[in-house]
Symmetry: C2
Subunit: 411 residues, 2 copies
């Protein structure tokens, strides 16, 4: 495999035209779109318009004249197209953590058999999911046991499970779980699964309806390119909405918020998952990211994602052989999302050295270097060049001189 092969693959890439739809910095190979997605060109213009024309000129009237009031559901419906859900099943709101709290509390406060008292998750799950379960369980008097398993949680899905919080693509390893199989298993034992799609949406094909998912949350600022701290999303299958009542009962989730009634009455559909007044600027940026993503064919995107991650794994294996990198992601592409991680005892300075050279991935404790491949803007030559940088850093020992940087990258 040569750089010329990569150039050829880029010429043949049906998604090649998407790269110019992003504002990418010069001299940077950005392999961290799984942490913060890149800026779509259209977003800057759209945000400026929302600020100056909608907020500035229409002022309060924009809630109606520019339909701000329906934005959470409108963007949710667009996400539903992306994620294989129906209109009215997804809404954009708050953060992933808060959306998980809403669903988890709704599910744990339903009538449950006394012996169905376990919240299941994975020890390696993204910590905020575990923290939310801990905080809620404490608030509920510690009635539940939080059971954390290693690896595929399928075997642990039994009749003791009230709710399983399962992340489809692991944030550290990129491991991809079989959603349909896990949902089938959950149905057998009467457990509910809340899927965390933070590293799936826009990265791998997701078919919530077809694969039998009932509940999900996910992040807007990764592959969806919704901007830093973008609103998150929340999915409840339509037949579960009437029985799913969340306790963060703010006025935007009211059946008639503008009646200013004294008593809370939940909205009938997915709107009940709203709480306070949503940020229009943040939601607008997310909408731009989703609009762009919807123009790509998801199966084409997946094919490119697989090609990029395969190429990366092969090249690190051949070009950086003997330098001590141990693949931490599944070798089998069907079990992998759009990211690849390696373990290395010097992972931290190695990643710092890469970043100094304009190859941006990230470090995850204790010893992971992690690389995300967002197929809309990462090229095959980027893979080649990133691996060459890595090879140079390792061959020369330059990683030993990497400057210390504050460890505050936001996944």
């Amino acid at each position: 495999m040569s750089r010329q092969d990569c150039e050829r693959a880029d010429r043949d890439d049906p998604l090649a035209g998407f790269r110019s739809r992003f504002s990418l910095p010069e001299g940077v190979i950005y392999l961290d779109g799984n942490s913060l997605g890149a800026l779509p060109v259209a977003t800057a213009e759209r945000i400026a318009k929302t600020v100056s024309d909608e907020w500035g000129q229409a002022l309060i009237r924009a809630w109606n004249s520019h339909d701000w009031v329906n934005q959470p559901g409108r963007v949710g419906d667009k996400l539903a197209r992306l994620l294989g859900a129906a209109a009215g099943e997804i809404i954009v709101a708050d953060s992933t953590s808060l959306n998980l709290f809403k669903l988890l509390s709704a599910l744990l406060t339903r009538p449950l058999n006394a012996d169905r008292n376990v919240i299941l998750s994975e020890r390696g799950n993204f910590p905020t999911d575990l923290y939310i379960a801990q905080g809620l369980n404490h608030l509920l008097g510690g009635r539940f046991e939080l059971k954390l398993v290693e690896g595929d949680p399928s075997d642990a899905l039994d009749r003791s499970i009230a709710v399983a919080i399962i992340t489809q693509v692991d944030y550290r390893s990129g491991r991809l779980l079989d959603m349909a199989a896990l949902n089938a298993r959950a149905r057998e034992v009467g457990a509910s699964i809340i899927w965390d799609l933070s590293h799936s949406g826009g990265a791998v094909p997701v078919q919530l309806g077809e694969d039998g998912a009932e509940y999900a949350v996910g992040c807007g600022y990764k592959y969806l390119n919704g901007g830093p701290g973008a609103p998150a999303f929340l999915y409840v299958r339509s037949d579960r909405q009437a029985s799913t009542r969340q306790p963060l009962t703010g006025w935007f989730g009211h059946a008639a918020p503008f009646d200013f009634a004294t008593d809370y009455r939940p909205a009938a559909g997915i709107d009940q998952m709203l709480v306070g007044t949503p940020s229009v600027l943040a939601s607008t940026a997310l909408e731009c990211g989703v609009d762009l993503m919807l123009q790509a064919d998801m199966s084409v995107l997946r094919a490119k994602s697989v090609a990029l991650t395969e190429r990366f794994i092969q090249l690190v294996g051949s070009r950086c052989a003997g330098h001590g990198f141990e693949l931490a992601s599944p070798r089998e592409y069907s079990q992998r999302g759009s990211q690849v991680s390696f373990r290395h005892e010097h992972a931290w300075p190695i990643m710092q050295a890469l970043i100094e050279r304009g190859v941006i991935g990230d470090f995850r404790k204790p010893d992971y270097v992690r690389f995300g491949f967002a197929p809309l803007y990462v090229r095959h030559v980027d893979v080649w060049d990133a691996v060459e940088s890595l090879k140079n850093i390792m061959d020369s020992g330059a990683w030993r001189e990497a400057r210390f940087q504050k460890l505050n990258a936001v996944t």
Copy 2:
């Protein structure tokens, strides 16, 4: 009183220079800054820079290089200067509803005597505050009684009260409560007050520390001019922070979020009130609004606010006499925030007719017309012209032809 008097007052206005710092539409008198504050000129430029330079160019590195990671506390510290709190006592996060949930649940899950089982609020409080109390109480098994009183809640503050949720400036009438007196009363009976400052911050002088407040929440998109759905704020007095633990335990509230530890450990200070990844775009707009507000002297701002509301009340009384407007705000200025409401049986079409003529206030059920006077950009002549519009609509009966508009104004 004549329009010339108003022009003279504008020439003598020490805050007159602030108006040009806002992008206001031509031909509009905006008396709804209590609902959605106007756009500061600096905000549009700052947001464009954040989008294009920070997100677009620095990408994930901006969490450190542009200090996104400390933004919630940084903006909180600025608000602390505005609201008479100390640095480290206020943080910017989520929505007012969610911040109230955090504080209320923290306070209700402390050890409490069995006979201290009442959540006190006002029947006329902004509904989301009541809804949040209802949702939380339901989640806690209905252990508390939500007691709603009419008018000043001081008399109802007794030893049965666990927590009182008190809004300093009423959203509908503009009534301003005496924070120091209520806090003193609460101390006597051992109750905690959570202040809702949504209609106070930037509208009236607030001295949280001096007036003995322990807990507060408030809105960023009204007088603080933080943009539609701006992040809200949350205040916990420093000596109460160690004992105030909220249950929405997301990773941004962790003592060491980037350790990715399995177990939640709350941050020591006000940071524990963070949940998920904050929206940088939304927080940046709020920061611009707060920066601008901090350049005004709050006592000068209050003096102008009083002058504007006094003038409005007097002019409606004299110019619209006999048209059936009944003042719904306190006549005594010391008991009034920066807004004025009247009741009228045809409030709804009257407000529609005003809006059609470019005088933007709003309608509140059942029969209120409400006018906010943001002293940074509302002039004395605006008061005159607004009342003249109102007089014309009433004298001519033009309000009878007001077009129907969807009732979705966001307070």
